[in-house]
């Protein structure tokens, strides 16, 4: 994600396979921990599972 170091924009961090319904805000302000939250969500969601080839399912 091309985010300038002085950016004030808030982006949405989504791994569509896992958190489309629960997007996480990410910025250089109060959402600086967004990537950490996304990583925790991915770990919690997967648990003992692995991603399958459908996780990079192509769209027509």
């Amino acid at each position: 994600m091309p985010v300038a170091t002085d950016s004030t924009a808030t982006y949405t961090a989504v791994i569509s396979t896992l958190n489309h319904f629960d997007p996480i805000p990410l910025d250089e302000g109060r959402h600086r921990d967004g990537l950490k939250k996304l990583a925790k969500l991915a770990v919690d969601q997967l648990g003992d599972q692995e991603l399958t080839h459908h996780a990079d399912h192509s769209h027509k």
Binding site: T12, S16, T17, L18, N19, H20, F21, D22, P23, D44, Q45, L46, G47, Q49, E50, L51, T52, H54, A55, H57, H59, K60
Partner: protein
């Protein structure tokens, strides 16, 4: 014409018939079987031919309306008496009450985000996950660990919104019914249910959990109630035309081959009790 009832009002026979029809559709070896519906939801999860048909777009509500109708008709091919029921999550809020009873959708996953342990969709021998972004072949749920259920007040609040949608017609739209229902705007009636149920419902392959269809039936019921107040006509859908890469009212909903306009007044096909 079918009448869609609340899961809380189903008789034991109606619940058994619905479960049997869902399992028959899963076992169907040709045509549009249950896994076709899972795969189609995955295919249309994001951009297809420069359009977001199913999500984060104006066509979210009509696309899922037609998707449910196709599923309901596929179930009726196995048992014509079956109608799709709805889960009114503003009223039925327990992880052990309707629809999560052992004679219907079954209960929570074990140990946080594990396999559902109570029938009839518990375990891969009863209900095998064939098409999924993750490797579990058993249905998983993680209820009430994340997210929350909307209240009656939340649902009522969107009924007073007169406009259907607004530019830029996506998750950034700052007004309108559609984004409030879908989840880009508060009160977020749709996304948070997927998160609250968790497990497969939280993933791209959420239709692997049959409760997906009961949830979306309730979303469609709320859209129906909004239309009953503001109108079923094509003039109530936005955008009306001329917006590139957004499904306008007279454009076709792929892959169903019907226009948005043709889905808006559903009252000749089904109604809600």
């Amino acid at each position: 014409m079918g009448t869609r009832k609340s899961v809380a009002a189903l008789t034991a026979t109606e619940k058994a018939d619905f479960v049997a029809a869902v399992k028959a559709l899963k076992a169907q070896s040709s045509g549009r079987n249950y896994d076709w519906f899972v795969r189609t939801h995955m295919d249309y999860f994001s951009t297809v031919s420069s359009h977001n048909y199913a999500h984060q777009s104006s066509s979210f509500l009509p696309w899922h309306r037609q998707y449910l109708l196709e599923l309901e008709n596929a179930l009726k091919a196995h048992n014509p008496a079956v109608d799709l029921p709805y889960w009114n999550w503003t009223a039925n809020r327990s992880t052990t009450g309707p629809p999560f009873t052992s004679d219907f959708m079954g209960g929570n996953g074990s140990g946080g985000n594990g396999p559902v342990t109570t029938a009839p969709f518990a375990g891969s021998t009863r209900w095998r996950i064939n098409v999924s972004a993750t490797s579990s072949t058993s249905l998983r749920r993680a209820m009430a660990l994340r997210g929350s259920l909307p209240t009656t007040s939340d649902a009522d609040s969107v009924m007073g919104v007169s406009s259907y949608d607004a530019s830029p017609w996506n998750s950034s739209s700052s007004s309108g019914l559609r984004n409030r229902v879908e989840g880009g705007l508060a009160p977020n009636l749709h996304n948070r249910i997927h998160v609250w149920v968790g497990g497969h419902m939280a993933q791209i392959d959420s239709p692997n959990d049959p409760v997906f269809f009961l949830h979306h039936c309730n979303v469609d019921r709320l859209y129906h109630l909004w239309q009953a107040r503001w109108g079923f006509g094509a003039d109530r859908y936005l955008p009306g035309g001329g917006v590139a890469n957004v499904v306008d009212v007279n454009e076709t909903l792929v892959p169903f081959g019907v226009t948005v306009a043709s889905t808006l007044d559903h009252r000749g096909l089904y109604t809600y009790a």
